[in-house]
């Protein structure tokens, strides 16, 4: 507590960080951890509320508990490895922005590919040349933080105003689904996702053909082969539990292939 208090002083009723502390020390100060941690905790609470409400609603409309459990466990298993990748993003950004702010950004709303690009552009505009610990000033940091929050908030803003109208307008009528009529919405969602996957696979195929590197394509192939194996195994009654972990397991094998090939 003494160490914590020693880092701050009060002036006109407001608390400031002592200037003799380096910028990195300020960016990793307990106050920043407190601010960022509180926001993350708030978002975690929202997730818990949505999770419990959906679980209760599922049971109320007669969904089997096992089906709900599989949705949760498969999603949790699915998320672990990509989350470690996101943690690497926190570490990469912590060198210039400290740890608490990238921790907040990548836990809430942020996206790995977005943060660095926007932070870099903001750093250039505030006149510190680029993202680096050496040139960082309190004003530059506050500006970068504002821009990182401001540029990517539109999905949330649109959700706030239009989610209800949009989902009500686009949703397939539940009566159709219950009668067994397959609406186009189902095909459209599958098609959109195939388009998304094709875009990434196409970039790996193109990259391999133009000499940019064969590793991403080989990782894809290894992961797909592992998925084929998991799918075949999980068809056996005694191994059906494997289905929830098949994507995570396949990803792990794909990532191991990258280590072997590199």
């Amino acid at each position: 507590m003494t160490a914590l208090c020693a880092k701050f002083y009060h002036k006109k009723g407001r608390m400031y960080i002592k200037e003799e502390f380096s910028m990195q020390e300020q960016l990793n100060s307990p106050v920043l951890y407190l601010i960022c941690g509180a926001i993350i905790l708030f978002v975690a609470a929202i997730c818990v509320i949505f999770l419990f409400r959906a679980w209760r609603a599922g049971l109320a409309i007669g969904m089997e508990p096992g089906r709900l459990r599989r949705a949760v466990t498969s999603s949790a298993a699915f998320t672990v490895l990509p989350s470690v990748g996101i943690l690497l993003g926190v570490i990469a950004l912590s060198g210039s922005l400290g740890t608490p702010w990238p921790w907040l950004r990548l836990s809430v709303i942020g996206a790995l590919h977005y943060e660095t690009q926007v932070a870099q552009a903001a750093a250039e505009q505030v006149g510190i040349g680029g993202l680096s610990a050496q040139g960082m000033t309190p004003r530059a940091f506050a500006t970068i933080a504002l821009l990182m929050s401001g540029c990517i908030m539109w999905g949330m803003v649109l959700s706030l105003f239009f989610n209800r109208r949009y989902t009500e307008k686009l949703g397939t009528k539940e009566e159709n689904a219950k009668k067994g009529k397959k609406g186009f919405a189902d095909t459209a969602m599958t098609a959109m996702f195939i388009g998304l996957i094709s875009c990434y696979l196409g970039s790996y195929i193109g990259g391999a053909a133009t000499g940019s590197g064969i590793v991403p394509l080989a990782v894809c192939a290894a992961s797909a082969a592992a998925m084929a194996l998991f799918t075949a195994l999980s068809k056996h009654r005694r191994l059906s539990w494997l289905e929830s972990f098949s994507v995570a397991g396949s990803m792990l094998i794909g990532m191991l292939a990258a280590v072997v090939l590199a």
Partner: protein, 225 residues
């Protein structure tokens, strides 16, 4: 629960989901935009608004367009509850969308049904909580974990999380929809082959690739109905 009760219950559930979702989105928005000013107050240096405006014009416009497209494309995939949560917690393309699609496949639900809405919400909520926990543990154990996470041996593994993800998901989707998948895969491969510089714009090219595939899907759907 009979049919009438089920309909009434679902109407109430959806209504409350929108109310909680709107409140959560608004509160998160205020907290995220307010945090830089709060930090600025602690540092004794407020954000440079003209510089933030210039930077917004240089990169923010692209991300604004991208955010609008993401909302239009991904909300129907995620449903209402999942949509609110996914736009609050982020990492859509590289995590939340594939995660929700995987959960949908495992639970065997169909787009537009109440079951799909529930599974999608469960999936995004569980995924978001796991990310929050992993990042919190990672930050807590940052010092002891650094040698592992920054190890040169493991660096290629962490650099290839996305190819590993789309390899596994690709197998699942291509296996079941091979005819639909061939054209977009060929089209995108040729595009990246002839214009390699587009590799840095992959996330933007998802939209035309998705539009072409939906168009092909529609033709197939019309033929089969």
């Amino acid at each position: 629960m009979d049919e009438k009760q089920r309909t009434e219950y679902l109407e109430q559930y959806t209504d409350k989901t929108h109310r909680i979702g709107r409140f959560a989105s608004l509160a998160t928005l205020v907290l995220l935009l307010g945090a830089p000013f709060l930090i600025g107050a602690v540092f004794g240096a407020m954000p440079d608004l003209p510089a933030a405006g210039r930077a917004f014009l240089s990169v923010g416009i692209v991300w604004t367009v991208s955010s609008v497209a993401e909302f239009l494309v991904y909300t129907p995939m995620l449903g209402s509850g999942g949509g609110y949560l996914a736009f609050i917690t982020g990492n859509l393309i590289n995590l939340k969308i594939p995660c929700a699609m995987n959960a949908r496949d495992i639970a065997g639900t169909r787009t537009g049904t109440a079951e799909n809405e529930i599974v999608s919400t469960l999936s995004i909520a569980a995924s978001s909580l796991v990310t929050i926990v992993v990042l919190a543990l990672g930050v807590l154990l940052l010092a002891p974990l650094q040698p592992v996470l920054r190890s040169e041996t493991l660096a290629p593994a962490f650099a290839n999380v996305v190819p590993a993800l789309f390899g596994a998901m690709g197998y699942q989707y291509y296996r079941r929809n091979l005819r639909l998948a061939l054209v977009p895969l060929l089209m995108m491969s040729l595009l990246f082959l002839f214009v390699p510089s587009l590799a840095s714009q992959t996330s933007i090219l998802i939209l035309p690739a998705g539009a072409v595939t939906i168009g092909l899907g529609y033709l197939g759907f019309r033929r089969s109905t």
